[in-house]
Point group: C2
Chain length 333, copies 2
């Protein structure tokens, strides 16, 4: 957007009125790393006046587990019950793997065409920090646009789950029926983040295996330490079939009961507050380091010292102190 056309209050108003084109363009804006766009994004975020809150659901699952099919079925059920649903995909690797960028909407064919749904594929960006900010700010825009549910989908690679866990109100782990007691490559940390484990594909030939897998995970969850943010019975394992649309209503009922309990017990707000503080600290570090990296004099000073540093003629801490001192100027001690 050129500077002349950019009137943040006007864009904010359109987003809050539910204008999908304004929302889509605003998400494009927060995805940009360009300084002008970052400044505009900041103005826009500040111009948002609503206090609307969606239920932010983080969702993960290893490839092949049927995540897109699940989101399609689950999302359709929500929009058909009158809710507005946004889907944001987080895939730090999508720039390389390619597939998912074009694939997301195709695989969620019915949902993507529903007027109450909004699906936004991953931006082609590999930097996890950039993806984190974009997803967080896109979520805020979707909330301002009045969506009731924001599904934040991620792939089972570990780091992105942790990131999504730091911005979601609840976290759902989707698993496939396993033969025997395999662990399906799910990292322990991701399992500990889950509020709900859904064993998908509980249909046809896999139904018996799904039942066993579900019982295994239910048993494993019972052995885990009770968390302060959980009512009795959570985290919980359930069977679902995205293809047959079985267990989806029950999943939504469980999610709602968890949300209700957390809101009543102050956990909802305190978790969001802690998440905001966490991201502020992360952004603070990032912003400061970026300034240093983009400062021509600091870059030149570092480059000039590289030879002495590499030769061990100046201690790394001493060289660093010099660069920082010249960057910050004589006033800052």
């Amino acid at each position: 957007m050129s500077k002349k056309d950019f009137v943040p209050q006007e864009i904010a108003r359109r987003i809050e009125q539910g204008n999908r084109r304004a929302l889509a363009r605003a998400i494009t804006l927060v995805e940009s790393a360009h300084p002008t766009h970052r400044a505009q994004a900041a103005e826009l975020l500040e111009a948002l006046g609503s206090n609307r809150q969606a239920i932010r659901i983080g969702m993960s699952g290893t490839p092949g587990v049927g995540k897109s099919t699940f989101i399609e079925s689950f999302g359709l059920q929500l929009v058909e019950s009158g809710l507005r649903v946004a889907v944001l995909a987080v895939d730090p690797s999508s720039a390389r793997s390619g597939g998912s960028i074009l694939g997301d909407k195709t695989r969620m064919d019915h949902l993507s065409r529903h007027p109450s749904a909004f699906i936004r594929p991953s931006p082609s960006q590999t930097h996890l920090g950039g993806v984190a900010r974009r997803t967080r700010e896109a979520t805020a825009l979707c909330e301002a646009a009045g969506f009731d549910v924001v599904l934040i989908e991620t792939v089972g690679v570990g780091q992105s789950e942790t990131m999504v866990g730091e911005m979601a109100d609840l976290f759902v782990l989707l698993l496939a029926p396993a033969g025997g007691d395999e662990l399906q490559g799910v990292k322990r940390g991701i399992m500990e983040m889950a509020d709900l484990i859904l064993i998908n594909k509980a249909d046809g030939d896999l139904k018996a295996a799904a039942s066993r897998t579900c019982a295994d995970y239910a048993g494993a969850l019972r052995l885990m330490r009770k968390r302060a943010q959980d009512p009795e019975g959570f985290p919980k394992a359930l069977m679902v079939s995205a293809i047959e649309s079985n267990g989806l209503s029950q999943s939504w009922i469980e999610m709602q009961s968890l949300v209700d309990w957390r809101k009543q017990n102050g956990v909802w707000q305190s978790t969001r507050a802690d998440q905001n503080a966490f991201w502020f600290n992360a952004e603070l570090r990032h912003a400061l380091l970026t300034r240093l990296e983009n400062d021509p004099e600091a870059v030149a000073a570092s480059a000039a010292m590289q030879k002495a540093i590499r030769a061990g003629q100046v201690a790394p801490s001493v060289a660093a102190e010099r660069v920082v001192r010249s960057f910050l100027g004589p006033d800052k001690k």
Copy 2:
């Protein structure tokens, strides 16, 4: 040291003459996080004129493997052959566990009393970044003091190994004989760092088990990808008995042949250069962030915004940008 008594050139001269008291006091200085001491440490490091290089040996092993006994035996053999040996312990947990702070010297009774040996226990500091700088700078002081070998001992916890790997010329992993083909809790990453795996306790009843374990690791090492920094046959697995002083000469011969090859092939210098560049970048980030954290105005600005941040009334990135802008002043873009 008070400012009046502090003459860096004089201290540097005494260290380079082999004055142990000056070395010990200088290490205490680089261990301090106090700003005055940091400034003095920087002056001292700059005043060191020598280009002496020791062989920096990183050494790790899980508890119970006989690390202290090994260092005692191995170190004694080196000093008795005319070399000067310094031992630095890295134990980020020592402040909590307590034991090792007093234990180090006691457990290396003979070595610690030898005039050519210098043993420095872990400082009571838990911050890994601080431990990294202290160990690096203490190593530089030991090199200036003319030690031929600096043994940097660490415990098998993962993060500290990686850190020591970034400042050592070669890395030795000490293991105990295992029953069957257990992995002894050694992380794959640590095994991949090792130049030499020594199976200790190859004596008495454990000799046969040590032989099997050694063969297992030798096999595992052969399956690993060839590294650019290795001559033929490395990394290597050997059996040793610290108690019976068996295999120690052979270990030292292997280490020397590795060092010679690396020096002849330019690997030694390029590794040190890369390590210095790595630490410069780490120190640069650390120094800048520390300034922000210690800036009263930035701290006050962050605190003043906390309520709005936690309530979600201001986006984390927007709040961070404001704090950084006011910290850096209007000149810095």
